[in-house]
Symmetry: C2
């Protein structure tokens, strides 16, 4: 279980992949493997949460890193890079952005 | 604090707004007010989590609803609709998708 909070001093990556529906499952599996084999072991990794859109056209990774510096260091890691290139090939496009959590509202 | 889990039987809405940087703060405030005044009181609302991209160009709402039916019923609520129209006016575009959580990975 991952937690979203305005109090944790973390950096959030929301990466929206646009994908052909017939490739959605393969992309989900690849991102899961990339996380387990590479990202998860890198300094500052907090969590990755892989989501499948119900219309089949998107896969979104909601990921948390200790800091933007840790996230940027990951981009230079050879194993992480190799997985990201495979994901980029499966997707039509991807739009990663770093975020801060501004507000959390509960029922 | 909100929770992301593969075990909770909920529907996740990830809505990415593209915004001019000078309007990012106004959009964040509007979405927060919309949630507190309208969405939060509707049947099936679980959480809304408003994120600001550090480059100023995006605002992303990571929201959780009990079911897709509850989310779709919200779209027909007059107060919710009024707030969504104001948000649409502030943003250049917005791309809402409903998702399932496929996997959660921790350090």
């Amino acid at each position: 279980m991952s937690r979203i909070s305005t109090e944790a001093p973390i950096t959030t990556l929301i990466n929206v992949f646009t994908v052909r529906p017939e490739r959605q499952r393969a992309l989900i599996d690849l991102l899961g493997r990339a996380t387990e084999e590479a990202m998860r072991h890198l300094p500052g990794f907090v969590s990755a949460n892989i989501h499948a859109s119900t219309d089949g056209t998107k896969v979104t990774n909601y990921a948390q890193w200790r800091s933007a510096e840790d996230f940027h260091a990951m981009l230079g890691d050879p194993a992480a890079r190799e997985h990201m290139e495979l994901a980029a090939e499966l997707a039509e496009r991807y739009e990663p952005h770093l975020y801060t959590v501004e507000s959390v509202h509960q029922r």
